[in-house]
Symmetry: C2
Subunit: 516 residues, 2 copies
């Protein structure tokens, strides 16, 4: 590779910055990037059939790999199709590097069919946006994008790449920018939090983001032991380490009614890489702010801070014991009889293998899954960080790619599965160890619940039909097979246990349609 074009310099720079997986859904304007994949051996291209799969997979990959993947998207419409899962990555502070192809610079003025204002589309989700106008700029722009994505905190960085900046010679590889370390929390802050916790008034640590990994959890548990405070965490953490041998932490409930109970009576809420809890949606006559009256909110560590060290310093300051309270190993017995959402959760708790990764987009069907898996062998739990459904299957796909040798269990509601069902094909193509469990309850069950919560009383048949996924029933076994993933259907708890055990014992993807 003597004289590089812009695309080659870009791909080589990405690899040099530690970004060596790219989830692609390319078009004509990205063909030189695609061609460059063969020039840069280290970059792995993973094809997705839909952009929302690519962006969600990049999110799942980064959550587990701890470094970003790239996406390759086709102009404004391609970015649009990927936007919902980029929203989730943004809210979860997960690093993603988007490469969005554009028309050649001299072509823009002709307003061809696919011309649109890409930067405007990117703005909603991106903390960093840059257009590399010339081949000389693709390397430096890529290095800047990776650095911006890494943060801390992690964010979505979008690099817009006109086709001629790719195809022209003159590309220059840029070195990786230095990693920005997390900021050290001031000792005054730790003193102040310690004072609040020593007050013996009811208090809780509210953990999120980087505070949900083992080191921070152990420190948080020591603080809890020393000060007798509750440990709570975000409703939808991007990644929570949990299971036997790790300190347990309760997730704040999705439903404000339950979250309010969890927070009731608190006088101090200490935020650790988390935002103060608010209601997911607004409801008539109900407060959006879930912090109880008279409860003081303090930030121990913000998103860019070193939360684990701050928690350790706090624990030491409080003279906490060295040992955390750890979750004992415990599995529920295998259920028999009817297959309910709760029985599915029990089977998963009984069979979840050591080191599993759970991608949880089960919504209402998954309510008891955290309970029944609490004492399962150590695992990671990945949630719907931004609330935009359709990320579960892509996140599972990316997580599996990041962690070969670990089993991914993708818990998926039927309604949510259908936004990015094309993920199954990428799982099959890449031979990924993902077992997808579809909770088929033939409805947007959560909306049936929400309809009355928002005060829309006695809904009529037309309204109810908008929440109903029957007429016709979806056949997820057929759909999965169509995308190349072997699939079975379970109608009883015994069926489901047998099918899950088999799926977990075999390599490659599988899908189980659980008729709940």
């Amino acid at each position: 590779m003597m004289a590089m074009n812009g695309a080659q310099a870009l791909v080589r720079t990405l690899v040099g910055c530690g970004v060596d997986v790219c989830f692609t859904n390319p078009g004509t304007s990205e063909m030189h990037f695609v061609a460059a994949l063969d020039d840069v051996r280290e970059m792995r291209g993973v094809l997705a059939l839909f952009e929302g799969v690519a962006t969600g997979a990049a999110d799942g990959y980064a959550r587990m790999a701890g470094r970003p993947a790239a996406t390759l998207l086709h102009l404004g419409p391609g970015l649009g199709n990927g936007l919902a899962n980029l929203h989730n990555a943004r809210k979860g502070r997960v690093p993603v590097v988007n490469i969005v192809g554009d028309h050649a610079t001299h072509h823009a003025k002709f307003d061809a069919h696919l011309q649109s204002d890409i930067e405007t589309v990117a703005r909603n989700v991106s903390g960093f946006i840059r257009t590399a106008q010339r081949p000389e700029q693709t390397g430096t722009a890529a290095a800047a994008a990776v650095a911006a994505a890494l943060g801390p905190p992690g964010q979505v960085a979008t690099l817009i790449l006109p086709a001629d900046a790719c195809w022209l010679p003159g590309g220059v590889v840029a070195p990786a920018l230095p990693l920005r370390p997390r900021a050290t929390v001031a000792s005054e802050t730790i003193d102040e939090v310690a004072r609040a916790l020593r007050s013996s008034e009811p208090a809780a640590l509210f953990l999120g983001g980087s505070a949900l990994r083992e080191r921070a959890l152990v420190a948080a548990s020591r603080v809890a032991r020393a000060a007798g405070v509750k440990l709570l965490c975000e409703t939808f953490p991007a990644r929570l380490e949990r299971g036997a041998g790790l300190p347990p932490v309760s997730r704040l409930a999705y439903l404000a009614e339950f979250a309010t109970q969890q927070l009731a009576g608190l006088r101090h809420l200490i935020l650790v890489d988390a935002k103060a809890p608010v209601s997911f949606f607004a409801y008539p006559g109900k407060p959006s702010d879930l912090v109880p009256e008279g409860c003081a909110v303090r930030t121990l560590a913000a998103a860019e801070d070193d939360a684990a060290s701050a928690l350790e310093a706090l624990a030491d300051h409080l003279g906490a014991p060295r040992e955390a309270s750890l979750q004992p190993a415990a599995r529920p017995p295998l259920p028999t009889g009817d297959l309910t959402a709760d029985a599915v959760a029990k089977v998963i708790g009984a069979l979840l293998p050591e080191g599993a990764i759970v991608s949880d987009e089960a919504n209402t069907s998954g309510l008891s899954a955290p309970l029944h898996t609490a004492g399962a062998p150590r695992h990671d739990w990945l949630c719907l960080a931004g609330g935009a459904i359709g990320q579960g299957l892509p996140v599972a796909t990316g997580a599996a790619l990041a962690c070969p040798g670990r089993k991914v269990v993708s818990l998926e509601a039927d309604g949510s599965a259908l936004y990015t069902i094309q993920s199954l094909w990428t799982q099959a193509r890449e031979g990924l160890d993902v077992v997808t469990v579809i909770y088929n309850n033939r409805s947007y069950a959560i909306l049936n619940l929400e309809l009355s919560r928002v005060g829309a009383e006695s809904p009529g048949p037309k309204a109810l039909s908008m929440l109903d996924l029957s007429r016709p029933d979806l056949d997820f076994v057929a759909i999965a097979r169509g995308f190349g993933v072997p699939a079975t259907r379970a109608a009883t708890a015994d069926d489901f246990a047998k099918q899950l055990a088999r799926a977990l014992s075999e390599p490659g993807p599988a899908l189980i349609e659980a008729m709940v």
Copy 2:
């Protein structure tokens, strides 16, 4: 309905403005709109499993009904998922009224999970954006959105609707705004065009948009007869009326190499509700502007003008004969033997029923379909107006809903089908007369072509695998059945002819996977 809430006033206003179909993919913030469907009997709610289906179906509906449908989308991520097909509607100047729910106004400041800047996302595709902050404003905002969508020219109008503007009482129904008529083209313009055409230098009319309906086509054909000029039209018209008994018009080729031949030697190009032709993409060393050197470009009618009347005035001015040149009836014989893309086109030409609507997203596989259907009974041909793939199945869905009693034939490339495959379920649920033909060639064939056209020579195996849809092969019969649509697979021309004849003779949706 004594005291209306904002949602009820909105839905009633839409109906009063002639918008009585809404393609929905709602969430919690849209529950009051959903509940209002039962209060306003005239509004039909059509559920989609994915927002790109809803927006594409609204586009297809409007193309055939001549009036907009509404969409109902869930906050910024829902709009994002619908963006690619809204891009297509924008480029095709098709009216669409988006209703995008948002958090209650008092909830926005809490930056909850689904909070994002919806207006920014909407800007890329919308000619009109308004947020109705209070229930008193939903009616007037809806009437303004419908008027803006109608144009002329048609455009996407996006109405953002905070949840409290829906649920609070105080809604006021607004009357429909007066329709804005198309502008009359000045007689000086017609004189000037007539002078150019009388020069006896080589000339062509380049037709698009509203000039591709019968009345305008007849007048254009009369002009062509009088002045000896060519009739050409846009590469991807939103709606072209064609077939036996209508004046034929040649579509400009997608590939610039062929388009250049069609335009070679012209000295006058007259634009009639069309933009001057440009290359779809830029290619190294090739011009983007396809108008040949020395060819003068004049606009007879712009997008907001009354193109049909302008063409009639021009024909009269030129003393044209009353009769147009009409396409004679002719069908190809049914082919036998191997199933090729050309054989598929011949079978369609042989069997296409009177009054059919063809949604054409066959891409490379569909190149000969216009040729073999030219003399089929009169039909409508709907193309990928904005070039963002994934609109064919949704457009077919919306068109079928707009035209009960007419058969829709949806010609769909395998790669493109997979962006919005969820359309099949809506077709099944609504019992729509859509026959989908999937050209399964196991690749993004167009990208194999484009890879060399952009100058990426001798692509390596990694690049080629990004264009390849095998490993694993997709099984569209299984996928279709999974979504509730009966499906068959055709491996020979005879199979395909038999299956298409049966599918066209039966009510409701069907899918044929053509192994080409």
